[in-house]
Structures are given as C-alpha cells and as structure tokens.
C-alpha cells in the first residue's frame, strides 16, 4: 500500500540508517559518523555528505544506504549528496566516539580541523589509556586516519584525524 507524502517521519528513516555500518569501520554507523545530514519528510530526501573528497568508501556508503531504505520498504525516498556545509569530525556523535575507542581507533579531538588545535594534544592509547603517545605518520591506512604509537604499551594504533 502506497503511503501518502509526508507520512514517513524522520525518526523512522533515521532508525533504518542507524543500522547501516560504515564500510571501513563497521562498528560505527553512517549516522554516528555524521554522514547522514537529515531527512526532509516533504521532499522525501535523505541528505548525505562525503567525508573526504577522495574517500573510496563514499560510493559503497551511498549504495548501502540505498539498499537499507529499499529493504525497509522505503524505495521512493531519494538519497542526495550535498557538499556544503563540509563534513567535519565534530559531527561524529559521542556514541560514535566511544565505539571508535572500543574498536581500537582513538577518536578525533574536537575543533573542526582548526590548525591551532590539530595534533597539539597527544592521542589517548585505545589499548592501555596512556597519553604518552607519539604520532608516526599523519597519513595512514585510510584518508581519515593517522598512525600513532603508544610509548607505554608499545602498541601502534590508528587515530581518526581532526578534520
């Protein structure tokens, strides 16, 4: 049965999207990562925004969102990409940050990529909790991560870059 325009509410759509994992870091959802900017119930459009311009996961994310909406019987909802305002790591939710840490990735510091804030604070080791850490490489396995090392437990770890 076709539902009338305006009867699909944002809560329902966001609940569907909250179950869509990021393809690179599957413990965190696309909503927690701040990729989903919202749902417009009148236009029936989900607005998403890419993380990095060259992030290879962007296409997969869009396809996963499409598939999840289809599976929930929401095929008529459109998915639209908007670049502005530019995605920022400040949009990663508190729950998302906690999940990153538990997964072994130090969450990004707050500060929207402000150069004055970036990398000034030592990352906290996700393994042992020490702040005695050193950055090894600002560019690492994916565009969003930097490579760090813990001087206390000697383990290397990824840190989500401030962006």
């Amino acid at each position: 049965m076709q539902r009338e325009i305006g009867t699909i509410d944002a809560q329902e759509v966001m609940a569907v999207l909250a179950a869509v994992p990021d393809p690179e870091i599957p413990v965190i959802s696309v909503v927690e990562l701040g990729i989903v900017r919202g749902f417009d119930p009148l236009r029936e459009v989900v607005i998403i925004t890419p993380t990095y311009s060259g992030c290879p996961a962007t296409l997969v994310i869009e396809q996963s969102i499409r598939a999840a909406l289809d599976a929930a019987g929401l095929s008529r909802i459109l998915v639209k990409t908007e670049l502005a305002p530019a995605w920022s790591t400040d949009w990663i939710t508190q729950a998302g940050r906690a999940k990153l840490l538990a997964y072994g990735i130090a969450p990004p510091p707050l500060g929207d990529g402000a150069p004055s804030l970036r990398n000034r604070l030592a990352a906290q080791c996700p393994q042992c909790g020490s702040h005695n850490t050193t950055e090894i490489s600002r560019f690492a396995s994916t565009p969003c991560k930097a490579l760090w090392r813990c001087n206390a437990c000697q383990e290397p770890f990824d840190r989500f870059k401030c962006h």
């Binding site: 990095y52 060259g54 908007e82 670049l83 502005a84």
Partner: protein
C-alpha cells in the same frame, strides 16, 4: 547555452588536481619509507577526489554528456588546462617535495578565497577541499625543513628540485580573460591578490629550511591555454591507456 568561462574555470580547478594527483600516484610503492608512500598516495587520492567533483561539475555545465571520467580519459594534452607546475616530473623526492610545497601553499590560498565564490557549487567544493589541502601544506612544509635543514645531500637535492619547479610559479598568479570575467562576476579569485600572502608563507618555510628565496623568474605560461610541456603527454598516455584501448571499460 554553455557558460563558457565558468566551464573553463571548473575544468582548470579539476585539471590542476587531477594531474598532480596522477603524478603523486606514480610514487605508489616507490617511496623510501612506508609512511612517505602512504602520505604521497593519500594526498594524491584527495586530489583525485577533488578532481572528480570539479570535472563532474564542468561536465554538467558543458551539457554534452561528458562526465568526470569522460573529461579525464578522453581529452588530449591540448585540451588540458592545468598549470604547468603540476605536470612537472616527480624527479627525486626533493623535487617532488619542492613541487608540492610550491603548489599546495598556492592551492590553499586559492581555495580559501574561492570558498567565498558566488557560485554555490564552486564555493562548496573549495570549502571542503581546503580542509584536505591544509594537511598537504603541513606535510610539504615539514619536509621542506627536514630536507633543507638536513644533510648536505638532502639540502642539495631539495635545492635542485626548487630550481626546477620555481620557473612555473609565476603562472599561478597570472589571470586571463576567463579569470577576469569570473572575478567580475564574483565567482572567481583575483589571483594576483594572492601573491603577497603566498610569498610571506613560503619565505617563512624557506628560512626555516636554510634555503635562499629564489629570484623572481620570467613567467613560463601556457598551461591554461593548453600549451604544455612534453611531460603532460607522457603522463596522459599512461593515465588514459585503458580507456583509450578499451573505451567505456568498467569493472
């Protein structure tokens, strides 16, 4: 009707990023240390991502059915409008770093200004890209100091790399008819106005790197008109090979 100046403006934005991104990808698997390999290829990836957006927009403006891939893979050197600096060969690591330093510092200033464009699409792309480019600047500036203030060998190589690339810096600040119209319409950036800030930024780093500030050079231009060095043709022959040999191939 095609908005010709805007089309060329978007094309140039995309071509600069695409060609430098392709150049950096040549380092994949060849850098002296894993961290450097990751850095150069990640910067390349950022740039190719930016190019995808800009060339996609250029294709939309043109309205002739060419998408970003169509523009990237099915144009000859004469139809490329990138600046000459980005097509320069990688040379050794010092030459690559000098090119990145000279370009990224300009790129950052240019994009920061373009973020205020009256064209909402260009403004959005610029605001997004400048965040990525701030990391490129940091990487290049750090390595300039590390190599310049390093061993006699690293200093000499960086110095030679700077000499090679310096000739192509003037072009970054010279506007043509396309630029002039874009500036008048509040869409484009007055490139000459970026020069003082650029000089201040690079002189700061050169001082830290124990390198003399190169003398102003007679401008070598032509990139924006499609007059390129022979290096671009070789780059394109590699980048475009697959789509030229098997048009429309996909996987």
């Amino acid at each position: 009707m095609i908005d010709q100046p805007l089309f060329h403006y978007a094309l140039r934005l995309g071509d600069d990023s695409l060609i430098l991104g392709q150049r950096l990808s040549e380092w994949c698997g060849h850098a002296a240390a894993l961290e450097v390999d990751l850095s150069l290829t990640n910067i390349g990836l950022d740039l190719i991502g930016q190019a995808t957006s800009a060339l996609g927009y250029a294709g939309d403006l043109e309205g002739a059915g060419r998408d970003a891939d169509g523009l990237a893979f099915h144009r000859d050197a004469l139809d490329y409008e990138n600046c000459l600096l980005v097509e320069q060969p990688n040379g050794d690591f010092g030459q690559t770093i000098a090119r990145q330093f000279l370009f990224s510092n300009w790129h950052w200033l240019f994009l920061s200004a373009l973020a205020a464009s009256k064209d909402a699409t260009l403004a959005a792309m610029a605001a997004k890209s400048v965040k990525e480019v701030s990391y490129h600047v940091e990487f290049a500036n750090d390595w300039m100091v590390r190599l310049g203030d390093g061993t006699p060998e690293s200093h000499q190589r960086l110095s030679a790399g700077l000499d090679w690339n310096w000739r192509f810096v003037e072009e970054l600040f010279i506007g043509d008819d396309v630029d002039n119209e874009m500036v008048q319409r509040g869409i484009g950036v007055d490139k000459a106005s970026l020069r003082a800030a650029y000089d201040a930024r690079i002189i700061d780093v050169l001082n830290d790197a124990n390198l003399p500030v190169p003398k102003k050079h007679r401008a070598i231009t032509g990139g924006r008109r499609g007059h390129h060095s022979e290096h671009l043709g070789h780059l394109l022959s590699q980048m475009q090979f697959l789509q030229r040999a098997y048009p429309g191939a996909s996987w």
